[in-house]
Every structure is written in structure tokens, then in C-alpha cells.
Subunit: 323 residues, 2 copies
């Protein structure tokens, strides 16, 4: 099944979601509204809300009851994107100016806070304290992961475990909580909540590793981001980490990272070449595939409904997008 | 009653609060922890937690049940300070380096998010959905107020109503919710919750107007901030707004604001002189006093317990600190 077929299966939900997402960030502050409206309208894959809806199918599915949860996880994601773009100084995301480029770096700090506050409001209005407990138990960890990425920038001595811990917090936890919220919100059996949460965690790990690969291989026009952006920001991605430790040119690579101030316009391309040559990309691909295969295993306990097939499709998509 | 006597009356609570505040932001991320530890240890007036504790005295006061609420409001305040300092580029707050100066502007974005996420966790662990409804109903408005301040920077055409709306959101709402949370958390009668919330709102308005005055009059060593910092940031404070509209030198003042890029090191002092001469400070002082007198009126329906006297003392302090 291709990705467009995947989204075809849940297109009604996703369409209504877009409307409700937009409503959820409504504000009378005109410049905040302009920036956020454009951010939401620019879209995105909406993978996290899709996980909420699909996970809810393993319980008593009720679109209206589940939608606030789908909105909340996408708002949390949006808030982190807005704050990430400040940190990265990115001019564009999804082909439109980032919030910081549109309303200024300073106001974007508050715009991200606003979106986070609206995510909270959406969840509180939904009114389920157990769900609030789940999300409040991971939200601060997501922030820790973001902060750690910044702290570890240009640190070539991080271990593979450091890397795994960081992407777990930064990316995988929100995938996991998306599945958990959907399943919990639909009062699915505890065994299904557990399995879906684990599936989401493994999917999120694979997603981040694949993102790492795409930073080195993607068609710039398709991804909307310049190649090697992670390298420029000093983010030690998995292929790079592999090259730093196992490339025959590891010493040369480490030498380059010892003084990023001296990099010129060709250095990033040069580093990408070293990483490609090292086999780091193939290594990362194998790691992503292992996570995907684990994610699928967790689904095996679930009943064989259409949502399960869609979750399996999504898992395949996540690794295949880096081919 | 002097302020130190005020704090003497609630010193046991405030001492325990400091410990618990520090615990509430514990993290295994060493550089996040270092920055936040220092921020919390640098202290502050802790007016908002004091409002929580005092308001709780009008119901069934239980220190352990109320403390998470006191922590949460101070964490929300701390998060906004961390993000404010990024926006203002401030090197110092309360005499120690700001989070952004300590760990970098970028990581400070996430540090603020982390503190906000911990505030949420504290409230969710406390477990009262009504309280979560109250705070989630104002948090996004506080962000709107912050964003508006940035949007209105250097806009000399804002009206007095614009100003009032902005400081209500930016400052007064958190004072009001502090009182509301304390009273609600102690299951005080609805009439008391209402009165205390209104008291907090008026107190917060007076507090912000007084802060505006202090930016033009304070002893730099005492306040820890350079004189005229608001002017430098383009924040149209109440005394300035008065001068822009009623000073005999209003045109000269407006001319200066039309091109802040041309300001030199003497311009801010020159603007402060014009504002002082205009009577704007006396005007703002009268406005603050009116808010304080309203805040006290709201307390009149409450029973005559010690906490009420302390709230009255706090009200007097808020205006008197600008004398």
C-alpha cells in the first residue's frame, strides 16, 4: 500500500482535523494569528494525529472524543517546530517562512508558548485526568531531549547510547504518546494500549534515524531543507556518529569538527562525502529497519482490523522514504 | 507593616517552598539543571506563591495540598522570565547570569519550555481538573500578552485601552489565578474565590504600572536592571504613554520614537527626562493607587483573619515600592 492510499483510508478524519487544528489556535492577536494560520495551513504529514486516530480504532472509536487528542499532539509538535526554527535560524519550513522569519525571533518564542498553552487547553477541555497524566509525564522529557541536542552540538565524543537516549526523548516519545492517547481515549484494553505505545516508540526511533539519513541524501526540493543542515547545526546524527568512529577517515573528520568556525561553503559537502563513503548511511538504514521490524512485532498481539494494516503500512513508509 | 514583617508571617511556608521549587525542576540533564538551579536559587519576591498560600487561608488550609499550586504559579512565572530574557537579550537577572547568558539563547528556549512542562506536571500530579481548567483558561492569554508587548514595541499610537489590555494579560492574570488557585485548592466558598481573584487582578495591574514607574526611577543597584530598559526595548509604559499624548514636548518625543536606530547612549536618559517632566510618573502613580484601592475593596467581603491583613499589607507594598 502506498502512502497516498494510507491517507485515503483516513481522509475524512484528516480533513476535519485540519479545520479543527486551525480553530484550536484562534486568537484575536492579529499578528500571532497570521503567523500561526500560515504555519498550520502549510500542513505537514500529520503522522502523529494519524497515529491517534488509528490507535483509537482498537477501542470504542468516537471521532469527536478522539479529535482533541489528535489536535493536542499535533500542537505539541508544532510548538517544538516553532521553537526549533528559532534555534536553527531557519528561514523556511514546508516552503513557507517560519514563524520566526514571519514575526521575528522574539515573538516566535511566545508564539511557540501560545501553541503549547493551547495544546494544554485542548487536553484539559477534553477532561480526562489519566490522559493528562500520560502527556505531562513525557512533555518535560521531550524538552530535555531538545535541550540535549543543543548541548551535544559539535560534541564528537558522544556515545551510541547518548544518541539513542536523545532521539528517544526528542522524537520517539511523542510518537509513543500519540498512540497511547488514541488507545486510552477510546478505552482500548490495557494490552492494546501497551502494544500501541511500544509500536509508536519504535516507529519514532526509526523515523528519527531515517530523518538523519535524509539530511545526507534527500532531494533538497522534495525535503524543503538544505542538504547537510544537521551537520551545519552540529547535530551528531547516526550516520555521522558511525563515520566518526568507524570511517578510515575518522581522524580527518574529527579534525574538521574540532574547528567548525573554519568551515567554508564546501566543507559540509566534503563531510557528507566522508560519511557516505564510511558506510554510515547503510548502517543507519539497518538500524532503522531493525526498529521498524520491532514496531511491527508489537502489533502482532492486536486484532486483525484495517487500522492494523494501516499501521503496518505507515511503518514501511517510514523506512522507505529514505530509499 | 513592613514587607519583611509580611514575609516573617509566612516564613515557614516560604522556606519549604524554596526546597520544593528546586526539587520540581530536577533533571538529569546536567547543563539544564545547572542553569535552572541557579535561576531558582537566585530567588525573587515569590509574590505569586505567597498569594496562593494566603488565599488558601480562606478555606481549609492544608500546606501539602496547596504547595503544588504555589510551585506551579512560580514555575509559570519563571518560564516567562526565561523566555523574556531571551527576547530582551538580558545578561543578568537578580544579579546572576540569565539562563540565556549561562547556557545560550537557543538552549534557553527549551529551558523555558521545560519549566512550563514541569509546571503542568506539578498541576496534573495534584490532580484537580477544575484547577487545571482555571489555569489552562489563562495560560494562552498570558502568552498573547507577551506576544502583544513585542508586537506593540515602538508603536507610539497605542491607546490607553491597548495598554490596559496588554498588562492585564501579561501580568495581572497570573496574579489573579494565583489567588484563585489557592482559594479553590482549599475549597474556600465561591464568594471568597471570586473576591480573591478580583483582588489578585487589581493587585497585578498595580504591580505592572509600578514596574513601569520603576523603570524610570529605580536605583539601578537595587533593581538589578538598567534604568530605561523598557524604553530601550520599545515597551510603551504608562508614564511614557502619558508623555506621548499629554507632554508639551510630545512632538519631540514622537520624533525620537520614529527612528530608534538613531538613538545614542544619551537618548534614553533624555527621553526619561521628558517623561519625568510631563507628569507621567505622577499620573501612573495615581493609576496604580486606584488599582490598589480597588484591590482592597474586593477584600472587604472576606472574614477578618490574619491572611486578610497580610494581603492588605502586600497591596500597600506594591505601590509603595515605587516611592
Amino acid at each position: 500500500m502506498a502512502l497516498y492510499e494510507f491517507y485515503n483510508q483516513i481522509s475524512k478524519e484528516m480533513e476535519l482535523l485540519e479545520e479543527k487544528l486551525l480553530e484550536s489556535v484562534k486568537t484575536k492577536e492579529p499578528f500571532l494569528w497570521d503567523a500561526l494560520k500560515n504555519t498550520i495551513k502549510a500542513g505537514g504529514k500529520r503522522i502523529r494525529p494519524a497515529l491517534v486516530y488509528l490507535s483509537a480504532r482498537f477501542g470504542n472509536y468516537d471521532f469527536n472524543k478522539i479529535t482533541p487528542l489528535a489536535i493536542a499532539v499535533e500542537l505539541v509538535h508544532t510548538a517544538t517546530l516553532i521553537h526549533d526554527d528559532i534555534v536553527d535560524d531557519s528561514p523556511l519550513r514546508r516552503g513557507i517562512p517560519t514563524v520566526q522569519a514571519a514575526i521575528g525571533k522574539d515573538a516566535a518564542v511566545y508564539a511557540g508558548d501560545f501553541v503549547l498553552a493551547k495544546a494544554l487547553k485542548t487536553l484539559v477541555d477534553h477532561g480526562d485526568i489519566e490522559i493528562l497524566k500520560s502527556i505531562s509525564g513525557v512533555l518535560y522529557k521531550i524538552c530535555e531531549g531538545e535541550a540535549r541536542q543543543k548541548e551535544e552540538a559539535f560534541n564528537i565524543d558522544i556515545s551510541f547510547i547518548d544518541y539513542i537516549r536523545r532521539i528517544r526523548k526528542k522524537t520517539a516519545l511523542l510518537f509513543a504518546i500519540s498512540c497511547e492517547l488514541g488507545a486510552r481515549g477510546a478505552e482500548a484494553p490495557l494490552s492494546a494500549i501497551y502494544a500501541l505505545k511500544k509500536y509508536g516508540m519504535m516507529l519514532g526511533m526509526a523515523f528519527q534515524v531515517t530523518d538523519d539519513i535524509l539530511d545526507l541524501t534527500a532531494d533538497e526540493k522534495k525535503s524543503g531543507k538544505p542538504l547537510g543542515n544537521d551537520i551545519k547545526e552540529g547535530v551528531i546524527t547516526l550516520p555521522l556518529l558511525y563515520a566518526l568512529n568507524y570511517s578510515s577517515r575518522a581522524l580527518e573528520l574529527r579534525e574538521l569538527f574540532s574547528d567548525p568556525a573554519r568551515w567554508d561553503s564546501n566543507t559540509i559537502q566534503y563531510i557528507i562525502e566522508i560519511v557516505r563513503e564510511s558506510g554510515g548511511i547503510e548502517y543507519a538504514r539497518r538500524v532503522a529497519e531493525r526498529y521498524i521490524s520491532k514496531s511491527k512485532q508489537y502489533l502482532s498481539v492486536l486484532s486483525d482490523i484495517q487500522a492494523k494494516r494501516l499501521l503496518l503500512t505507515l511503518a514501511d513508509y517510514v523506512v522507505n522514504r529514505a530509499r
